[in-house]
């Protein structure tokens, strides 16, 4: 009996899915070491020919090229976040990850099996990025210079790089800001420079630094969280006045943007698995730890991940905000998309083939552009100068794409209704509109709704790219939390489950709508309402 019941449980697809995911996590969470490299790493030269992960959009590849010993003789894996790089090293997909010193420090503190390789790839300076020719650079540098001479660097280092978590708070913006507001765009995910604080807002060394300088200049600061790849476009497009948290000052970047004076000097270092390096490099008290440290097994490790991902610092709020934004964008785009689709369809229906040709060309162009590109073009180019929120731009972009699918669904759906239905309506004396709304559309809906269901779920999933324009949606929320917990898998899988569940709910809703509008489901009483009372 018990097994039967268990089987019945697994008929519920969600339970089954969760079970599968837990099994995957069981396999995935403990690092899977790739083949043991024959020789252990002793010097920098041993990294030649190895695979190294780096954050895409950064300049670490240039550093590796410039390095006297390595001279670029490595395979580079581009990763979207540092967490992905860590996961890559842990799983053996890459032999090391390259990162900035402050980031590396935090990473090895979180992961006992990792260490910073002693030889540095390149000394490095961080600056804040400004739009090319920005008049703000000079006053910013002046103010920063004054503060540094008063000992700001020491104060910040002791505050943000120390052990005491309680002091790690941004200074409150309690000054007037006579000179206006600075738009400061920053990516999170690299403690201590910039990361998601307990309230789910960005905090960190670099942000606090900007606030101090802004106070000195008497500007208020508006902080916007954005993916790293979006920072330079945001400066160029005029969305941001300054940007960055640990952006290295490089020749290449100087062609596109201006930099402030460096505010922090660090360096690029490699993070590697301890077990892969020669023991002489390990500090005496450190030995390679065993994989299993036996602290409670599988369930408690899942609980720990759950606690860190959702409960600690009330991170569920980040997910909730993300979820609400995702839903807002999805539903608004669906509604406006339907309106747009109908308008396009009617435009074509009422006018001749010429208009239809124009509409088909435009829709063809928009359909041909990937959603991310469309989104970025809208945000940085078309609405680049206007102060329009990312959510609105996202809704506009997805209204366009969804509107076009509604348009083609209508074309296909009405095309599937026999031409005779239209002829029959006209012959009785129905007008064009009556024929469409009373006869054609109700029948076409039966063809359209099943496709609509699929398209809507696709729309939901497609909105996952809005993080590119600084909208904090569900996917971005997952990334932000992931960057904070350095737990590579749990938040990803949580996000996947949430998307899946919403997708199911949407499907269920559309199924019900279909049942509601299906004429064959009406009862006799509905059909004969008000006709048989005198029988």
């Amino acid at each position: 009996m018990e097994t039967k019941q268990a089987v019945r449980h697994f008929k519920n697809p969600i339970l089954l899915l969760i079970a599968i995911i837990l099994i995957i996590m069981r396999c995935a969470v403990p690092p899977v070491y790739a083949e043991e490299s024959s020789g252990k790493i002793k010097t920098l030269a041993d990294f030649k020919g190895k695979t190294i992960s780096m954050l895409s959009g950064t300049t670490f590849d240039v550093h590796l090229e410039d390095n006297e010993i390595i001279k670029g003789d490595v395979k580079i894996l581009h990763q979207n976040t540092d967490v992905d790089s860590i996961a890559s090293v842990l799983s053996g997909k890459s032999d090391a990850m390259i990162g900035d010193m402050p980031v590396a420090e935090i990473i090895v503190a979180e992961h006992d099996e990792l260490m910073i390789f002693p030889e540095v790839i390149r000394e490095d300076n961080y600056g804040f990025g400004f739009r090319k020719g920005s008049p703000l650079v000079e006053p910013f540098n002046e103010a920063m210079g004054r503060l540094r001479s008063e000992g700001l660097d020491e104060e910040m280092k002791s505050k943000w790089m120390g052990k005491d978590e309680s002091v790690k708070k941004l200074i409150p913006q309690d000054w007037e800001g006579k000179n206006g507001t600075l738009e400061y765009w920053v990516n999170t995910g690299t403690p201590p420079m910039s990361y998601l604080g307990p309230e789910g807002t960005p905090v960190g060394y670099a942000i606090d630094y900007v606030l101090h300088v802004a106070r000195e200049m008497d500007y208020r600061v508006k902080i916007t969280e954005c993916a790293f790849d979006g920072l330079i476009p945001a400066l160029q497009g005029g969305k941001a006045d300054l940007a960055g948290r640990s952006m290295s000052i490089t020749e290449e970047r100087l062609k596109k943007i201006d930099f402030s004076d460096p505010f922090y000097s660090g360096g690029s270092v490699l993070v590697v698995l301890k077990k892969n390096v020669d023991e002489s490099l390990l500090r005496t008290e450190e030995t390679v730890q065993d994989e299993e440290n036996g602290d409670g097994g599988f369930l408690s490790s899942v609980y720990n991940s759950f606690y860190r991902t959702f409960i600690q610092e009330e991170r569920w709020r980040v997910f909730l905000t993300g979820l609400l934004n995702t839903l807002l964008i999805t539903f608004s785009s669906m509604l406006f998309g339907c309106v747009l689709g109908f308008l396009l369809y009617f435009l074509c229906r009422k006018t001749g083939k010429k208009v239809q040709g124009v509409v088909d060309t435009i829709t063809g162009i928009i359909t041909g552009i990937p959603a991310v590109v469309l989104l970025m073009v809208l945000f940085y180019i078309i609405f680049g100068k206007s102060n329009i929120s990312g959510i609105i731009v996202s809704i506009i972009a997805f209204t366009l794409t969804f509107g076009i699918s509604v348009y083609s669904m209508l074309k296909t759906g009405t095309g599937a209704v026999d031409q005779g239905q239209t002829e029959g309506s006209y012959a009785l004396g129905f007008s064009d509109n009556e024929a469409f709304f009373l006869i054609i559309l109700p029948q076409a809906l039966m063809h359209i709704l099943p496709i609509f269901k699929g398209e809507l779920v696709s729309l939901l999933k497609a909105t996952a790219v809005v993080g590119y324009i600084a909208v904090q949606d569900l996917t971005r929320a997952g990334d932000m939390v992931r960057n904070r917990t350095f737990d590579a898998f749990f938040s990803l899988i949580s996000v996947a489950i949430i998307y899946y569940v919403i997708g199911r709910i949407l499907g269920w809703l559309i199924n019900n709508v279909q049942k509601l509008v299906d004429p064959a489901t009406r009862s006799k009483d509905t059909i004969l309402k008000g006709v048989e009372s005198d029988d």
């Binding site: 026999d418 005779g420 239905q421 002829e423 029959g424 309506s425 006209y426 012959a427 009785l428 004396g429 129905f430 007008s431 009556e434 009373l438 006869i439 109700p442 029948q443 039966m446 004429p519 064959a520 006799k524 059909i527 004969l528 309402k529 008000g530 006709v531 048989e532 009372s533 005198d534």
Partner: protein, 392 residues
């Protein structure tokens, strides 16, 4: 009531099914539009309610020029009902809703009124029990009856029927034809495009024979079917009533011939039983007489001609002189019950004799072919007893 002046219809692909067509339709006319395929019969009908507006020429409905630009076509179509070959019932509505919706939307009747009228019409077409079914649940014949009821619910002044039974299974043709016949006798003006000649002849007061893009010849059913004046009409009508067949082998499949005969019958069955009698007669004549008496090589030529109340069979066969008429007459005279085993000739002769009204045998001097002409008519029924005794 309707006057059609010099209309032409040219499609984008340069096809011109109608060219300079003229016609006058009077109130109360029941007009059957007949003619070979592709001669614009349906197009003509669809011009009349402007579903396919003519590209040239004018149509007047009750002295209003409906081909005028900006004429209120909705007003026109409410007064001109149409029944399609493909029914075109609204699939997402029940039968009663199909009939109610146009009344409510277009005639502004309230639900109760529309329902009452709808149920009344369903009773007329014998489908009251089906009022809550969806079109998908009905047979073709039922669908077409609903379509007719729906068109009639609008109280049209003219009813256009575009091949109403062509898409139907033969077994369902009659149920629809009965309904249409009912309408025809009710006094409403009707135009019906049909390939069912017997039906056309049966119900219509006028026939439009269409060919060459115009109404090539028109007249009463008698004029068109009995005495067509023009060449093409004559050929068309002749084809309807004449069947020719060559029989060259004893393996000939008689069933094929029977099928051909019955197909012809559906077009011109105004003379009921005779077809059946002819088939029985032919069965005996070919299988039991000619196949037995003739020597190889076989060459039998058969020509059946359908007259108003008789069928004329012309049978030609080769070989030496063989006066079938005398032979059959003589054999038929031999008393019943004296047949020898393996000699069915007397029986066959009696059957043929009983169905044949008249028989003539000819063989021209110097010709190698025999000819026998047999007339079969309804009244010839005397052979039934003999036929039955043979089976016993």
């Amino acid at each position: 009531m309707i006057k059609v002046v010099n209309i032409s219809k040219k499609y984008e692909n340069d096809l011109e099914p109608i060219h300079n067509l003229n016609a006058v339709i009077n109130k109360g006319d029941v007009i059957a539009v007949i003619g070979p395929s592709g001669t614009g019969k349906s197009t003509f009908l669809r011009c009349l309610n402007m579903l396919d507006p003519p590209t040239e020429g004018d149509i007047y409905f009750q002295d209003e020029k409906i081909t005028e630009k900006g004429y209120d076509l909705i007003k026109l179509r409410k007064r001109v009902g149409m029944v399609f070959q493909s029914f075109n019932l609204f699939n997402h509505m029940t039968v009663i809703e199909n009939i109610m919706l146009p009344q409510m939307r277009l005639l502004k009747k309230d639900r109760k009124e529309a329902y009452k009228r709808g149920m009344g019409l369903l009773e007329q077409v014998g489908l009251t029990d089906f009022y809550l079914q969806y079109p998908g649940q009905l047979s073709g014949g039922q669908k077409q009856r609903v379509a007719i009821a729906r068109a009639m619910a609008m109280d049209p002044e003219v009813l256009l029927l575009d091949e109403p039974t062509s898409a139907l299974d033969p077994t369902m043709v009659d149920e629809v034809n009965v309904v249409i016949k009912d309408l025809a006798s009710s006094g409403i003006t009707i135009l019906i495009v049909t390939h069912d000649m017997a039906f056309a002849r049966d119900i219509s007061s006028r026939i439009f024979y269409m060919d060459e893009g115009i109404i090539y010849e028109e007249g009463t059913p008698e004029e068109i079917f009995e005495n067509p004046k023009k060449d093409k009409t004559l050929q068309f009508v002749k084809k309807l009533f004449v069947l020719e067949e060559e029989i060259l082998s004893r393996d000939y499949d008689f069933e094929v011939l029977v099928k051909k005969i019955y197909k012809q019958m559906t077009q011109a069955k105004s003379i009921g039983n005779i077809w059946h009698n002819s088939v029985l007669l032919l069965d005996e004549l070919i299988n039991n007489v000619l196949f037995v008496l003739l020597e190889d090589p076989l060459h039998i030529h058969l020509r059946m001609e359908c007259k108003k109340d008789s069928i004329v069979l012309n049978v030609e066969y080769g070989g030496t002189e063989l006066d079938l008429k005398s032979l059959l007459m003589e054999k038929a005279k031999s008393p019943v019950g004296t047949e020898k085993q393996d000699d069915w000739l007397p029986v066959s002769a009696r059957i043929i004799n009983s169905y044949a009204e008249d028989m003539t045998y000819t063989r021209q001097e110097g010709e190698l072919r025999n000819r026998i002409r047999i007339i079969v008519s309804e009244s010839a029924k005397k052979g039934r007893r003999t036929f039955a005794s043979r089976r016993a």
